[in-house]
């Protein structure tokens, strides 16, 4: 199975994805219909049944959208997801070189035992979000099997001793992680809001070399739209 995100980033083009939380293939269908390139299922924080996860993964694959997951960063979990058909990973709070190497090795073992699957079909991302991960950044980024580096402002803020994820130190560290990763030839992955006011920031990251962008959670998109007073008063149709 080809990986649409891999094809895009190899061609130097951005891949845009949806962050699915609500456990239903309908969200995958909506993303596919909108022309998005991947859908990330949040197995890490939301209680997906195996059957639902399999249905969403199959739905994405059938629509030519890369099935992506955020899941626990262990070899067993990564293997289980690969067997389901997942082809992109964001592994949160990776804390050591050994942990990153273990999951990269699991991907290699899967490829080696799966006829028809090439290593290039899979994208493995490690998120640097805690203190141990920050301390291990260089070693993790040096692992060849780690394709993508990312970070997350909320866990990063906690790691830096802040509760405000917009604190200048958090922003600076966030930017430094992504820029360092780009400088080391890694792909980077980051989130954007669906509101036009945030698109400029995302476009600036694309200009700096970021190629994998995920649109914020579907529930945030919907809530923000519904809570915008303008949609209830302006003289235009909402959707």
């Amino acid at each position: 199975m080809a990986n649409r995100v891999r094809e895009l980033i190899d061609a130097g083009r951005p891949a845009i994805g949806a962050h699915a939380k609500v456990p239903t293939p309908a969200v995958v269908e909506i993303a596919a219909e909108a022309g998005l390139d991947f859908v990330r299922l949040d197995h890490y924080h939301w209680p997906y049944d195996d059957a639902t996860l399999a249905a969403m993964t199959a739905c994405a694959a059938n629509r030519g959208v890369t099935p992506w997951v955020r899941c626990e960063g262990t070899a067993d979990m990564v293997t289980r997801m690969l067997e389901l058909g997942i082809r992109g990973f964001t592994l949160p709070c990776i804390a050591s070189v050994a942990q990153a190497r273990a999951v990269a090795d699991a991907v290699d073992r899967f490829v080696g035992s799966s006829p028809g699957v090439a290593r290039a079909d899979i994208l493995l991302g490690c998120a640097i979000e805690n203190r141990a991960g920050l301390d291990s950044f260089e070693g993790i980024a040096a692992i060849e099997g780690v394709d993508i580096m990312s970070t997350g402002p909320s866990d990063l803020a906690f790691a830096l001793g802040h509760s405000d994820n917009t604190h200048p130190e958090v922003r600076a560290t966030y930017d430094r992680i992504l820029m360092d990763a780009i400088a080391r030839g890694k792909q980077v992955y980051l989130s954007t809001r669906a509101t036009p006011g945030d698109w400029g920031r995302a476009a600036a990251w694309i200009a700096r070399g970021a190629r994998i962008l995920i649109i914020e959670e579907e529930y945030r998109v919907l809530m923000k739209h519904l809570m915008c007073p303008d949609i209830w008063t302006t003289k235009r149709r909402a959707a």
Binding site: P14, A18, P25, A194, P196, I215, L222
Partner: protein, 236 residues
């Protein structure tokens, strides 16, 4: 300790004297209803025609609506079993499709009421088990909300007559939603003057604001946001 809030109805909400906010929910999950509740909607209209909308899922979505203080209307064709099962979920009412004239509207309203007011068969949704059947039947007669979806093949004269049928609480005009892309919304809304109106907000700026304004469907809102964001990022 009273553990259960007394049931509320769409009529209760309308009697508060403000226009209500609604969302057509096509994403088959109680989470989709919860999203509408957190975002301050008053009503969800659950469209069970979409893949994944099993009866079990719809019941969970109605339960989520009660949990969020929302009113839930379920869309149903005007057939006795379909209407009965739509209300068996514990929904606050129905949006009925396939109504062509006043005669079919009267027949459909009868499907929503228990004897002697109608032909609905006896059953109490779980939500209402604290009531006797008689209490529930009485509550239903005064509180189950019946909206009629205006279809493209309906003449203005029919809309007027349907709106006047006892037990018809509202007329829903929503071109592009629930398979009604071909209706003349302006004509339908004009014909329904005086009736409680459910319609897309801002669709026709020169027409009266609907009593229940719809933001659209969750699937359409989400799809538009995805498409707009991706288009911008791909083209710079």
């Amino acid at each position: 300790m009273t553990r259960l809030m007394p049931p509320w109805s769409v009529r209760d909400r309308l009697e508060e004297g403000r226009n209500l906010r609604g969302l057509v929910v096509e994403i088959p999950s109680p989470a989709a209803v919860e999203i509408a509740g957190i975002a301050d909607c008053d009503i969800v209209i659950i469209d069970p025609s979409h893949p994944g909308m099993t009866r079990e899922t719809v019941e969970g979505m109605v339960r989520a609506a009660w949990g969020q203080g929302l009113c839930a209307l379920t869309v149903a064709p005007s057939e006795p079993w379909a209407v009965m099962t739509a209300l068996d979920t514990g929904a606050h009412g129905v949006v009925l499709t396939g109504i062509r004239d006043a005669k079919s509207a009267r027949a459909a309203v009868a499907m929503t009421r228990f004897p002697p007011h109608g032909r609905r068969e006896a059953n109490k949704p779980l939500r209402f088990q604290f009531m006797t059947m008689e209490q529930f039947a009485n509550w239903t007669s005064s509180n189950i909300f019946v909206a009629i979806l205006i279809g493209g093949d309906m003449a203005a004269a029919d809309v007027v007559e349907i709106a006047g049928v006892p037990g018809v609480d509202a007329i829903m005009v929503a071109p592009g939603l629930l398979g009604t892309a071909d209706i003349d919304a302006r004509a339908a809304i004009s014909a329904a003057t005086g009736a409680t109106l459910i319609a897309l907000v801002g669709d026709l700026p020169d027409m009266p604001q609907p009593h229940i304004a719809l933001a659209g469907s969750d699937a359409a809102i989400l799809g538009t946001a995805y498409r707009d964001t991706a288009d911008y990022l791909r083209t710079g």
